[in-house]
Amino acid sequence: MARIRTTVDGLVYEDDVEPRMLLVQYLRERLGKTGTVIGCDTSNCGACTVHLDGLSVKSCSVLAVQANGSEVLTVEGLERDGQLHPVQQAFHDNHALQCGYCTPGMIMQSIDLLGDNPDPSEQEVREGIEGNLCRCTGYQNIVRAVQDAAQKMKPGASQAAPVGGGA
């Protein structure tokens, strides 16, 4: 067992974990944060994407012990005072999901992308979410949603909403 201390969605947790425990297991099974899902078990699908110290990672490809001392942001930590994050809202507004399974990872990766490139072209969005697979939508509305969110998150945009990952 290894003792780890992490900050997850703004709260500090201390736990003993087996070294083999994956970060995604820790989030889901210890902390009950089932908003982060396991899609493929092969590191391809990106459904389990979270932010680790401000950078998107596939939480099935990180050990929980590696997150010791780090800050983790999951899809469950995006909402502020009952208001969805602009990227969550844009996915809702643009019907950017069908079954919804890829959505938590898509949203977390899109927020990472917009943090780096606040006004991406369609091609840049497609490359930015290259590590996230959607088997329903054909990506069209997902790309639209990310570009819509980019417009709403611009400084001076009318929608009063939190900007960035909140971490």
Binding site: P19, Q25, D41, C60, S61, L63, D112
Partner: protein
């Protein structure tokens, strides 16, 4: 799947890590960025007794200039490599190739040293390292040694790193002012290279004065396209010259046949992609 049980240590210096490997015996394995190793553990294709995580060793991260070399710490992430000014200026080929590795999430965690030590024949960084005449700094119980890229890659997933040694840094000569292009052919997003070509060329006064070309996935190890290099050097730059020189790209290769491509198709790809890579690098 969940990995099988293992012990875990996170040393804070190279010396401690070398000691941990020695203490751990034959079943001890090194964890770098984990983007290949953790999937291997999860699929139970590996079952180490001890995992030595290099993530806590600050001296293994970062890029620095040392005389006429650019030195990259083995634990420098792909993300950091693509954004590094020294590499962009002096070793552009490695920056260009690194941008094509997997996807953003993997590049945030994966490391240059980890990818090179893993030595997947379809990995994107070995061919550039070979083309660039990189040197590999390897630490072990008896101190440090340096291995040339031409001696580093021994076979599929096999390098000159001994079982109780650690790759600590990769040294690149400077290629300041050279053009560079990594031309990658794959089927879908985030897929491995079926074939890829790493090309960096120096063009002066309309002539190609130097050229380095490495091929990905044209054998179990990266291959240098020396026939193309010598056919290019001294020539006046033109599309016709480049396409003609590129015809030598498959010489000395031994590509595999698999579900993605037969060996004859890989040979065809090597020639076409070499032409494209050199033209883009020279442009």
């Amino acid at each position: 799947m969940i990995p099988a049980s293992f012990d875990y240590v996170r040393p804070t210096s190279v010396a401690e890590a070398v000691q941990a490997l020695a203490d751990g015996g034959d079943d001890a394995k090194i964890l770098a960025g984990g983007q290949s190793f953790i999937p291997v553990l999860r699929l139970r294709m590996g079952d180490p007794s001890l995992v030595v995580d290099l993530g806590g060793i600050a001296e293994l991260r970062g890029v620095r200039e040392e005389g006429d070399k650019i030195v990259v710490g083995a634990m420098t992430t792909h993300h950091d490599v693509t954004r590094d000014d020294l590499l962009n200026q002096h070793v552009k080929l490695i920056s260009e190739a690194t941008k094509t590795v997997a996807d953003f999430q993997v590049r945030h965690r994966g490391t240059l040293g980890g990818a090179l030590a893993h030595a997947d024949p379809a990995g994107d960084l070995a061919a550039p390292a070979l083309a660039l005449d990189a040197e590999f700094v390897i630490a072990g119980a008896n101190g440090e040694r340096t291995v040339a890229a031409s001696d580093f890659f021994e076979d599929y997933f096999t390098t000159a790193i001994g079982p109780q040694e650690i790759l600590t840094a990769i040294r690149f000569p400077k290629y300041t002012g050279w053009g560079a292009r990594y031309e990658k052919f794959n089927r879908v997003a985030q897929a491995w290279s079926i074939v890829a070509v790493a090309a960096t060329v120096k063009v002066e006064g309309g002539s190609i004065t130097d050229a380095r070309i490495g091929l990905t996935n044209m054998a179990g190890v990266p291959v240098r396209a020396r026939g193309v290099e010598s056919a290019l050097v001294g020539q006046t730059m033109s599309e016709e010259t480049v396409r003609a020189a590129a015809q030598a790209a498959a010489e000395g290769t031994s590509p595999t046949s698999d579900a993605d491509a037969g060996s004859d198709y890989r040979e065809h790809l090597a020639k076409v992609l070499t032409g494209r890579a050199v033209l883009a690098a020279a442009g």
